[in-house]
């Protein structure tokens, strides 16, 4: 694209020279400079974010309903929006989804907090010492590609059949992508900034706290987002592998049990719950980004 543009510009310049030297041509700005979406009074991007997202959501639900109406899938395999919404409301009303959500979130948040803290510690270790760097590089290369759920049987032997085993696999799922993103953030900090900080006499801890962490925040935020997704997948998968039948199981267990009992609308109700929590967390993280990296001019809104 940029190559062809350059060629085009060159052609014009040489053409202009040949036809009598209209030398303004090469610097004249292109006549159609528009900011995206400004060319129409009722444009999509001018709508408030909430309205835009609601419209997208409504279209998705419409497609879902259309699929139901056109294909008539077997109700033992697939559920429509209306049945799913009813199951969702019923499940929240009788407390089943609420308690399952609470169980899952508790395990997930503890596991993520430990994993994020470990990711931070590993990155700092890698920044301040070469041995630490070798250790973290090796561990990340070995463990990051491994689906954390694969070590659940090991965790069960170490910790027993309890939440600690799940917290362990979630922390493992979260720590490595976090460490990778954070160290990318640290290593891509503008060298001028680092030199300036060194000239000011900043060393190790103050360098990390006052320069590297804020400067690497966009990467750290994307690390948190990736970790959040990894954490969710891991907790749901772990709950599919073992759950307590006594009503204290989490969302994954709720979904799995509903599937075993062929209660398809309940399966969808569980999935919708996960989706809503995902949206809520995304909004929270965006808010944090607006207050930090966007305000500091490091990232576009």
């Amino acid at each position: 694209m940029s190559n062809s543009d350059a060629t085009l510009a060159n052609d014009k310049v040489s053409g202009a020279d040949e036809t009598g030297g209209d030398r303004r041509l090469w610097w004249r700005p292109p006549p159609t400079v528009r900011t995206p979406g400004s060319h129409h009074p009722l444009s999509w991007s001018k709508l408030p974010t909430l309205v835009r997202r609601l419209i997208v959501f409504a279209v998705l639900v419409a497609f879902w309903q259309m699929y139901m109406s056109v294909k008539h899938p077997n109700p033992l395999l697939f559920s429509g929006p209306a049945a799913a919404a009813t199951a969702f409301v019923d499940g929240w009303r009788n407390g089943q989804i609420a308690s399952a959500t609470a169980t899952t979130l508790e395990v997930l948040l503890i596991g993520m907090a430990i994993g994020l803290a470990l990711g931070l510690v590993f990155t700092i270790l890698a920044t301040v010492s070469t041995v630490g760097k070798d250790f973290v590089m090796l561990m990340t290369a070995m463990l990051n590609p491994l689906p954390s759920i694969a070590i659940l049987p090991l965790a069960i032997i170490w910790f027993g059949l309890n939440n600690n085993a799940m917290i362990f696999v979630i922390a493992n799922a979260v720590a490595w992508p976090m460490a990778i993103n954070m160290s990318t953030g640290f290593t891509t900090v503008n060298p001028t900034l680092l030199m300036a900080a060194r000239n000011l006499g900043l060393r190790r801890w103050r360098m990390i706290k006052d320069v590297l962490l804020p400067a690497g925040l966009p990467f750290i935020m994307s690390g948190v987002k990736v970790s959040w997704a990894f954490g969710w997948r891991t907790v749901i998968a772990a709950e599919l592998i073992f759950g307590t039948a006594g009503g204290s199981g989490g969302l994954g267990y709720y979904i799995n049990t509903s599937q075993y009992f062929l209660k398809v609308p309940d399966v969808f109700a569980g999935l919708i719950t996960i989706a809503i929590i995902g949206i809520a967390v995304e909004m929270l993280l965006n808010l944090f980004e607006r207050r930090t990296v966007v305000r500091w001019g490091m990232q576009r809104a």
Partner: protein, 321 residues
């Protein structure tokens, strides 16, 4: 899909009557059979390992799928991706009550399932709230057996629900051996291994429900009716495998061991095949008693009142219950 159906229908009309050993070369179409990694599927595994179906019906494309979860078999059958599925009594009854419509094609054998517990548990009353007992799925026959035992010994079918933990058989065995769970109700050979690891049998399924099928093969009537010749050949091969399991367990064991690619020794397979807890038969058993119990505790809304309601013509006259 519809093309293969038509092809199969044409093939079956011109096919010669089949017997266990005759080659029904006129048959065409496709057949997808799903099993799970478990000795309870031995009859099907022998047919697969020895290639009997392909020899009997060279024109039929036979696909064997090994899946890891009963619910995958169910979903596959409902969606039409699996023609012959197999599984336990309880998931079958649950699906029937939900209107799935599948029917019993052949039992794959009876099995007495044992609840093996650690020595400190001497009776149902001595099970404490911190004791964990593994079953394979919330809708498995093992979970139903636990409910029946809880009803019989603790007067409440749900009394042990909070103790149940959902684990696959191999994981349950490991967890039992390492002491993270205190009881397991799974299947052979794991129940025997758990006894060998210091556990003892607290209750068995025959004492609660009488003899019952462990796994059975299921088929949708729509597939059965449009593929009667293929179904006849398959049933004959299952009977042939049953005869081998009953009359020549050594031979059957070496086939099963080969099927498991050495992860199960011939002697271990022989021990499991000839165990006193197992009986190799095509006759379905226990569906009516399990069904009425599941209905009585509200797990299902309807249960079969006669075995004829849930079986395919292959089983007419086998006196199932």
């Amino acid at each position: 899909m519809s093309l293969s159906l038509i092809a199969a229908a044409c093939g079956s009309s011109s096919a010669a009557p089949s017997s266990a050993k005759s080659t029904t070369s006129g048959l065409h179409g496709s057949l997808v059979i799903a099993t799970q990694p478990d000795l309870g599927y031995s009859a099907l595994n022998i047919i697969d390992q020895e290639g009997w179906l392909t020899k009997a019906m060279p024109g039929v494309k036979v696909t064997w799928d090994t899946v890891n979860s009963g619910s995958t078999v169910e979903t596959g059958m409902i969606s039409g991706n699996i023609d012959v599925g197999a599984g336990g009594v309880a998931p079958f009854l649950l699906g029937s009550a939900k209107g799935v419509g599948w029917k019993l094609f052949s039992s794959l054998g009876d099995e007495n399932l044992e609840l093996v517990v650690k020595p400190q548990i001497t009776s149902f009353k001595s099970i404490t709230s911190s004791d964990r007992i593994a079953v394979v799925a919330p809708t498995s026959i093992q979970a139903i057996i636990m409910k029946k035992a809880a009803q019989k010994y603790l007067s409440n079918p749900n009394a042990l629900d909070a103790n149940l933990t959902i684990l696959s058989h191999p994981v349950a065995y490991q967890a039992f051996k390492s002491g993270t769970i205190q009881g397991a109700l799974d299947a052979p050979p794991f129940q025997q291994e758990e006894v060998a690891a210091g556990g003892h049998v607290l209750v068995d399924s025959y004492s609660l429900f009488g003899p019952s099928t462990f796994n059975a093969a299921w088929v949708m009537p729509s597939y059965y009716n449009s593929h009667t010749q293929i179904m006849k050949v398959l049933f004959a091969q299952i009977q042939r495998a049953m005869a081998l399991l009953n009359d020549h367990p050594d031979q059957a064991a070496s086939i099963i061991s080969a099927y498991n690619q050495g992860s199960l020794s011939v002697s271990a397979a022989t021990a499991a095949i000839t165990s006193s807890t197992v009986r190799w038969t095509v006759t379905p058993q226990g569906y009516l008693v399990y069904g009425s119990f599941m209905k009585s505790i509200g797990l299902i809304s309807t249960s079969p009142t006669s075995v004829r309601q849930i079986e395919l013509p292959t089983l007419y006259g086998t006196n199932g219950n």
